[in-house]
C-alpha cells in the first residue's frame, strides 16, 4: 500500500470526521445547554438536504441551496422546539427519547408525503467539481477539500461564538447552572429556541453539503444520527471540543478500519474470507472504539466527571 494511498485515506477520514462534527456539534450543544437527547436530529439533517435539493432544482444555484438548507433546518428546529421540545426539558431522558422518536416518524414520512418516494437530485456545482492535485501527487476531489475547509471553519466559528459573544456567554452559563442564567435576567426560553435552531441549522448544513455527494432520500439522517451519538459519547456529552475530537476519531477509525482490517486479515486468511471478515469487523469498529473509551473514561474524553 503506497504512502500516497494512506495519505489520501487519512484525508478521507478527516473529511468524514468533519461532516460528523457538524451533526455532533448541534447534538452536543443541545444536550449541554438544555439536557435534552434529540433523536430527531437526523431528521433536521434530512430537512437540510431536501431543502437544498429543492432549491437547487428550482434555481440552479448551489449557494442559494445552502442558504435554503440552513434556513429550512433552523426554522424546522425552532418550530419543533416551540411546539414540542420545550415541554420536555423538565422530563426525564425516557420521555425525551420517546417524543423525539415520534418526531422521526413524523419528519420521515412527512417528507415522503411532500417530496414523494423517489430520491432527489442534488449535485456539486461545476466550479467545485473534479479533482485537484495536491503536493505529493495526490489527486483529490476539490469538493471534499472544500468540505474539510468548511467544516473546520464552522468549528472555529462555533468556538468563537461560544467564547467571545454574548450569546456564547449565556450558553456557557446555561451549561453550568440553569438557575443562574435565569438569575442573570436572560430570557431562557428565547435562548433555548436559539440554541436549538442553531444546532438544527448545523445539521441542515451538513445534510446539504453531504447531500451533494450522496443520495438525498428519506431516512438518510438515521445512520448519521447514530454515528453522531457515538461521536458525542466518545467526546463527552456537552463538550464542543470533545465533539470535534470524537468526530475526527470516528471518521478516521471508520475510514481506515474499512481499508486496513481486510488487509490485516489477508495476512493469515484466504482473500475472500479475509475481505468478508475484515469488512464485518470494520463495520463494528467504531462501536468497539466507543465501548473501549467508555470503559476507560465513563463520561467520554472531555466530559465532566459524573
Amino acid at each position: 500500500m503506497s504512502p500516497i494511498l494512506i495519505a489520501e485515506q487519512v484525508l478521507n477520514g478527516l473529511q468524514f470526521g468533519v461532516m460528523l462534527f457538524l451533526m455532533a456539534a448541534g447534538l452536543t450543544l443541545i444536550f449541554g445547554v438544555m439536557g435534552l437527547i434529540n433523536l430527531a436530529h437526523g431528521s433536521l439533517y434530512m430537512v437540510g438536504a431536501f431543502a437544498a435539493a429543492a432549491v437547487a432544482g428550482l434555481t440552479g444555484s448551489f449557494l442559494l441551496a445552502l442558504i435554503a438548507a440552513l434556513a429550512a433546518a433552523a426554522i424546522a428546529g425552532a418550530l419543533v422546539e416551540i411546539v414540542v421540545i420545550r415541554r420536555l426539558y423538565a422530563r426525564d431522558h425516557l420521555d425525551q427519547v420517546l417524543a423525539t422518536f415520534a418526531l422521526i416518524l413524523i419528519f420521515s414520512e412527512g417528507t415522503r408525503w411532500i417530496f414523494g418516494s423517489f430520491p432527489l437530485f442534488l449535485d456539486i456545482p461545476g466550479w467545485l467539481s473534479g479533482p485537484v492535485t495536491l503536493p505529493g501527487g495526490i489527486a483529490y476531489p476539490l469538493y471534499r477539500l472544500v468540505l474539510i475547509g468548511a467544516g473546520l471553519a464552522v468549528a472555529a466559528g462555533l468556538g468563537l461564538l461560544i467564547s467571545r459573544t454574548r450569546i456564547g456567554i449565556q450558553i456557557r452559563a446555561g451549561e453550568n447552572d440553569r438557575e443562574m442564567i435565569a438569575a442573570l435576567g436572560v430570557d431562557i426560553s428565547k435562548l433555548y429556541t436559539i440554541v436549538f435552531a442553531l444546532g438544527a441549522a448545523l445539521a441542515g448544513l451538513a445534510g446539504a453539503l453531504v447531500g451533494a455527494i450522496q443520495s438525498v432520500q428519506v431516512a438518510m439522517g438515521e445512520p448519521v444520527l447514530i454515528l453522531a451519538f457515538v461521536v458525542i459519547v466518545i467526546g463527552g456529552i456537552g463538550s464542543i471540543r470533545g465533539a470535534l475530537v470524537g468526530a475526527l476519531l470516528v471518521g478516521l477509525t471508520d475510514t481506515l478500519g474499512g481499508i486496513f482490517l481486510p488487509e490485516l486479515f489477508k495476512l493469515f486468511l484466504d482473500p475472500a474470507t479475509a475481505t468478508a471478515v475484515g469488512a464485518s469487523l470494520a463495520s463494528m469498529a467504531i462501536y468497539i472504539l466507543m465501548g473501549a473509551v467508555l470503559i476507560w473514561r465513563p463520561t467520554g474524553l472531555f466530559g465532566a466527571p459524573a
Partner: protein
C-alpha cells in the same frame, strides 16, 4: 381494589376472551395479530423490569430480542438440515423442541445481558442510553455479515417448532402458549416488585446513595435486573422468531429497541400491565392506521407524541391515575 387492579383484571380477561372469540368466529388472523401483541408485550415486560424498576434506559434491548431469536433460528435450522451444531469436543445437535430452545434463548440472552450490563453500568444517564445502543449496533452489524446463518437475508424455519402436547401450527394453540408465558412473566414482575430485591432495586433507581448507605451495592442490583430483563426479552425473541418462522438482523436493529421502549412508555413505565397495554395499542394502531392512509406513520408519530406530552404515566396512568405505593 384499586382502579389499576380492576383494569389489570379486565386486561387479563380480554387477553383470554378476544382471541378465543376470534378463533370461534373463524378469524385466525386476529389470533395471529393478538399473538404478535402478546409476544411484543413479553419483550416489553422484560424491558420494564430494567426500565421501570431499575431506571435503566436501555436503547439496546433489541440485542437480547435478537439473541433469543437467533438461538431459536440456529437450533431449528440445524435440526431441519440434520447437521449438528458442533461435533467436537462433544456433539450438539439442533432441536425443534420449544422448551429446549427457550432454555437456550434465556441462558444466551441472560449471558449477553450480563456482559453488556457489566460494561454499560460503568456509565449512567445519557451515556448508558448510548452505550447500550452501541452494543446493539455491534450485534446488528455482526449478524448482517454472519454468512453461515443467512446474514442480512436471515434464516427461515420452514415449520414452527413443537411443544409437547400442543399443535403449535394452530394459531389459537400457539397463542395460548405465548399468553401463558406472558402471564408467568407478569407474575414474576409482580412478585419481584414487592420483594426485598424489588424494593432495593426501585430504591437504587431513586436514591443510589441511600442504597449504598444501608450497605447495598446499587450497581449489582441493577446488573441483576438488567440480566433478568435481557433474559425475558430474549425469550420473547425466540417466540417472535417462531411466530414469523424467520429470524433476521432486523430483530437486532435500533428501531426495534426503540419500538420495545415505545411499548413500555406508551402503556406506562413501571406499571405492571403497561407493556401489555402498550403492545396491544401499538399493534392495533400499526395494523389499522395502515388502511387509512399511505402515510400512516405520520399519524402514529403524532399519537405517540400526544401520549408523551399529555398522558404522563402512559395510558395506564391516564386511566388508573398515579402509581400507588406499597404499604
Amino acid at each position: 381494589m384499586s382502579r389499576e387492579t380492576i383494569l389489570n383484571a379486565l386486561l387479563v380477561a380480554g387477553l383470554v376472551a378476544l382471541p378465543l372469540g376470534a378463533h370461534l368466529a373463524g378469524e385466525p388472523f386476529t389470533v395471529t395479530l393478538a399473538t404478535r401483541a402478546v409476544i411484543l408485550a413479553l419483550a416489553a415486560v422484560g424491558l420494564n423490569i430494567a426500565l421501570g424498576l431499575g431506571g435503566l434506559v436501555s436503547l439496546g434491548h433489541a440485542a437480547f430480542f435478537g439473541v433469543g431469536g437467533y438461538a431459536m433460528g440456529i437450533l431449528a435450522s440445524h435440526a431441519q438440515s440434520y447437521v449438528p451444531l458442533m461435533e467436537a469436543p462433544f456433539l450438539i445437535e439442533g432441536t425443534k423442541s420449544m422448551p429446549v430452545i427457550w432454555l437456550v434463548a434465556v441462558v444466551a440472552s441472560a449471558l449477553a445481558a450480563l456482559l453488556i450490563g457489566m460494561l454499560s453500568l460503568r456509565t449512567s444517564g445519557v451515556y448508558f442510553i448510548m452505550i447500550t445502543l452501541a452494543f446493539g449496533q455491534m450485534l446488528y452489524y455482526f449478524a448482517i455479515g454472519w454468512a453461515p446463518y443467512g446474514g442480512e437475508d436471515g434464516l427461515p424455519i420452514y415449520v414452527r417448532n413443537g411443544f409437547p402436547g400442543l399443535n403449535t401450527l394452530v394459531p389459537i394453540q400457539f397463542y395460548a402458549l405465548c399468553l401463558v408465558v406472558l402471564l408467568l412473566a407478569l407474575a414474576l414482575h409482580a412478585v419481584i416488585a414487592r420483594s426485598p430485591f424489588g424494593l432495593a432495586l426501585d430504591a437504587a433507581r431513586q436514591v443510589p446513595e441511600r442504597v449504598r448507605a444501608v450497605g447495598l451495592n446499587p450497581t449489582r442490583l441493577k446488573l441483576a435486573a438488567f440480566t433478568l430483563s435481557g433474559a425475558i426479552t430474549g425469550l420473547s425473541g425466540a417466540l417472535f422468531a417462531d411466530l414469523n418462522r424467520f429470524v433476521s438482523p432486523t430483530m437486532l436493529s435500533w428501531q426495534m429497541s426503540g419500538e420495545i421502549m415505545v411499548l413500555v412508555i406508551l402503556g406506562g413505565t413501571g406499571r405492571l400491565f403497561g407493556p401489555v397495554v402498550g403492545a396491544a395499542v401499538f399493534v392495533a394502531l400499526d395494523h389499522h392506521l395502515g388502511g387509512l392512509t399511505e402515510f400512516w406513520q405520520v399519524w402514529l408519530g403524532v399519537i405517540l407524541l400526544a401520549v408523551v406530552l399529555f398522558a404522563r404515566g402512559g395510558l395506564i396512568g391516564l386511566i388508573a391515575g398515579e402509581r400507588r405505593t406499597d404499604a
